[in-house]
């Protein structure tokens, strides 16, 4: 979890609000005041983007559904040992700080699907090792097809 750096923020974080006021500026110092509902939205979006900027996941490559991924994850339940999980990305939910993705693979004739938040500290590394031609953003139809279509 990243540390923020004060009311002004670093140059990098200031680029998020780009010359406008910072979202936590007291109302009395604003000339134009939007409704608090809108200002709350601005606040949450800025905080989310700031966390994303400082996240270790920034160095991960861009990927989408249809890409074959190799994820290095630490498993907290197993003494934080790192393991490599490989599979086909069948879904990517873009939600800023809460972005998540699902990978599917056949492990010992059993289809396994695993979902991970992209910015989770347990997701150490992510590599794209291949891709399949798909015409969908979400590949849930693979659940109804045989194992050979999900095997990577």
């Amino acid at each position: 979890m990243a540390a923020t750096s004060g009311a002004e923020g670093t140059a990098e974080t200031q680029a998020i609000w780009q010359g406008r006021h910072a979202p936590w500026t007291p109302t009395s110092k604003l000339t134009k005041r939007k409704h608090l509902t809108k200002r709350s939205q601005y606040m949450m979006e800025t905080l989310s983007r700031e966390l994303e900027q400082q996240s270790h996941a920034q160095k991960f490559p861009e990927f989408r559904a249809g890409d074959i991924l190799e994820c290095t994850v630490t498993v907290p339940e197993n003494r934080r040992r790192t393991s490599v999980v490989k599979g086909l990305c069948i879904a990517k939910n873009n939600a800023g700080w809460n972005t998540s993705f699902t990978i599917r693979n056949i492990v010992g004739n059993i289809p396994i699907e695993r979902s991970y938040p992209l910015h989770s500290p347990n997701l150490v590394d992510l590599k794209v090792v291949g891709s399949k031609r798909v015409r969908r953003a979400k590949l849930y139809y693979l659940r109804d097809l045989g194992n050979k279509f999900s095997r990577v």
């Binding site: 979890m1 540390a3 923020t4 004060g6 009311a7 910072a22 936590w24 007291p26 109302t27 009395s28 005041r33 409704h35 608090l36 509902t37 809108k38 200002r39 709350s40 939205q41 606040m43 949450m44 905080l47 989310s48 630490t74 907290p76 339940e77 197993n78 003494r79 934080r80 700080w97 809460n98 938040p117 910015h119 989770s120 500290p121 347990n122």
Partner: protein, 284 residues
């Protein structure tokens, strides 16, 4: 109630006739102390991972220049309390009576006022700003707000009634409340009988919400879990009363009566101590 000597009068304090002036100074906690709360804006929810990798749902509360607008004392009002105000309004938007109230107590125009009963030793002078540094990460708070309005709702949604069967001859009463009482004795429906009606848009308090993180330079509080109300609405945040009974305030020692800023203070983000590794216990 802590009995403190309040005879000192620092400059710039407005003294009402017949009441002693209230100085702004740090004092130690006493077991009976109750300090002021804060008016904050519910901004929204997000999630944060703590140092052990546990994901926590977080509500972000923003304190928009919360200042003490009126000090009420036992001598003049019969009880000790602090009226605080947050936000800001334009002069033309405020009724003249309220304008007079702000002018009398020499505070800027506020959008939302709320009052918190405090003990004698927790009184603050008018104009004191209460910031996010008033709270300590790791402490618990009670958050009060107006819940989301659901409109006129039936008893199944409003009170969790089970309704009637979908089939087996039930005629047009599948979601109704059924019987409303007994027969000739008592021969009436009791007051307060749960029925359909307005649901939501009422004042509720969520207790024992943990403050996970405090960002004093931005006046943000990150609390765990949910608080009542919509985004953009005002909520009242004060020390959790049940945790005070357990002595949490004596252990964590939040600033009493409030955080008094000093020039040499460097404000950094305060993150709660979440205890030992929860996964260690699982592994054994």
């Amino acid at each position: 109630m802590g009995s403190q000597n309040l005879d000192m009068e620092p400059e710039g304090v407005v003294e009402e006739a017949g009441t002693p002036a209230v100085p702004l100074e740090s004092r130690p906690w006493s077991p009976d102390s109750r300090r002021c709360g804060v008016v904050a804006v519910k901004c929204g929810m997000m999630s944060l991972w703590d140092k052990w990798g546990v994901r926590r749902p977080i509500t972000v509360l923003w304190i928009d220049e919360c200042q003490v607008t009126q000090t009420k004392t036992e001598e003049k009002h019969g009880f000790n309390s602090l009226q605080v105000g947050a936000g800001s309004k334009k002069k033309k938007q405020v009724p003249t009576a309220l304008l007079g109230h702000y002018a009398k107590h020499q505070v800027p125009i506020k959008r939302k006022l709320a009052e918190f009963q405090v003990t004698r030793d927790a009184l603050l002078p008018e104009g004191t700003e209460i910031t996010a540094a008033h709270f300590v990460a790791g402490q618990h708070v009670d958050v009060t707000g107006i819940t989301i309005g659901k409109g006129f709702q039936g008893p199944m949604k409003r009170h969790g009634f089970k309704g009637l069967p979908a089939t087996h001859g039930v005629s047009k009463a599948h979601r109704s409340h059924g019987s409303t009482g007994q027969c000739q004795d008592p021969g009436k429906v009791f007051k307060g009988k749960k029925m359909a009606g307005q649901m939501g848009k009422d004042r509720r308090t969520v207790q024992n919400v943990m403050v996970y993180q405090v960002d004093p330079s931005r006046n943000l509080l990150y609390v765990v879990g949910q608080v009542p109300g919509h985004k953009g609405n005002f909520v009242l945040v004060k020390d959790a009363i049940r945790k005070i009974w357990e002595g949490e305030h004596l252990r964590l020692n939040p600033p009493f009566p409030t955080y008094i800023p000093k020039l040499e203070d460097e404000l950094s983000i305060d993150v709660a101590d979440v205890g030992p590794d929860p996964y260690e216990a699982a592994i054994g």
